[in-house]
Symmetry: C3
Subunit: 204 residues, 3 copies
């Protein structure tokens, strides 16, 4: 549990970094606006998940450490902005770890509240991607869901994989490691080999 | 109750079709993104209503049949895409039935939870239109509320009509049929005769 | 309490005015769409705060007077539209009073529910600014947070100021007056002297 908690704090902080970097790309944003967007990005997915499940208090409201994680994330973004911008590759890897982690955390939390596994899979995906979706809506960008094709679908695939292993009584830690690796691998390979999902229906 | 439940499932599936068709009009969307938007469109209005009322679990979280309805809706959209695009008129009629149905379902649910009739009217309208509003925000379109003038207002009118008949102890089934027909009629006639509401205040 | 309640109703009505004016600037909006946006602007911040805190019923759902305040606000916007448009200065002052008031009301409500003061500060700010953020998202504008720099930050500063005085057992009425004045003063002076916060990180 300890390790999972530390991972969750780390992931929250990282989402704050990701939100801050995206917000700052738009011009004329002061440090407060950028921090605000970083904050919303970090708490958005988990908050929406918990509000849909009626699970109160929301993680960051019940445990102040999440706010510290976000503050540290934003501070690091400011201090190492130039390096972070250059480290696009490292950032992408961290982001992929982040969504993998949040997906499985969301699945486990939803299952723990007694909901149906199908709901858990959806909520796992929501936890991972909705912070970014809200960030994009607030900064008037086309939501990430529509730009990077293999993104939410990788999360959903990993969530379903976790649930299948769980159904067959796989040891929890192995399951977490395996399904997180799957999400990570799908996304990294998809970007490396430029794999995209087929279009829904080609326009004529 | 049985009939109402089937109608609600049908309506949810239809909203998924509507969301999928709108999402696919934007270019470069893969099947996952289109399905995701279809899903959000279908659950958005009812979820927001229930989250505002504090009524848990949300319909689709407590009853997995709603997810099946959405899946079928998205599948049908994919299979019959070309036909659906041509059947704009049929689609419009289905959409009008859908919002009429969701309005009255929302009104009845809110009343059943013991809230004020005025709140029930607003929640009825929210149930019907908010899925579409969220869909438009996510796809970066001007929300439907501002494009098709007689839309939310038809829902609100029908909701108020239901509440008035209810106040005078009208038989429930007759009331449902009557107020749904009113919403349907207002919207269809408004589009047919190109009736719009007056502007709030003309710009000079 | 009486005075605070009247202030809250007045502030809700004013947010409806503000929402209506912004919505009407966009072309082709009928009176219903403009009123709808006014309504959402007025209830958005407080509703989001209460939904995040799990505090039900939402203010306007539990007390119908808030709807009357919104209706009156929208009616006055329609009747005195030309005058209001000319009174940009008066409007700005009213808006500044409105956000100051909502910030402190949000802080007090959150504290009253037993949450951490840091959460209370964030929720105070959310109460004040989120109605406007939702309004801007729905009308497809860049959220106000990114246009007027000293806006949410003034609310957060006032909220923190309130919490510090509260910690030192300052008399409540004096504290409310002082922290609201601080928010008001920061915003008015920032606009008058064109003060903005530094950018997060200048683009190269």
């Amino acid at each position: 549990m300890k390790f999972q908690y530390i991972l969750e704090l780390f992931g929250t902080g990282f989402f704050a970094v990701s939100g801050g970097l995206v917000a700052n790309r738009k011009s004329n944003h002061d440090w407060f606006g950028v921090s605000f967007i970083g904050f919303i990005t970090a708490i958005g997915g988990g908050s929406l998940r918990d509000m849909m499940l009626g699970s109160y208090p929301l993680s960051w409201i019940g445990d102040i450490n999440f706010l510290y994680a976000i503050l540290i994330g934003i501070l690091l973004t400011r201090l190492f902005y130039n390096q972070l911008i250059k480290l696009q590759k490292a950032l992408f890897l961290f982001d992929s770890i982040g969504i993998a982690m949040f997906t499985i955390l969301g699945v486990e939390k939803t299952l723990g509240l007694g909901f149906n596994p199908v709901i858990a899979a959806i909520m796992g995906m929501f936890s991972a991607v909705m912070g970014g979706v809200i960030r994009d809506v607030l900064t008037n960008e086309i939501p990430v869901l529509f730009r990077k094709n293999i993104y939410a679908s990788a999360c959903l695939a990993g969530a379903i994989f976790y649930l299948i292993l769980d159904y067959f009584n796989c040891v929890r830690n192995i399951n977490i490691a395996g399904s997180m690796s799957l999400i990570f691998a799908i996304r990294v390979l998809a970007v490396k080999f430029n794999i995209t999902l087929p279009q829904f229906k080609t326009q004529k």
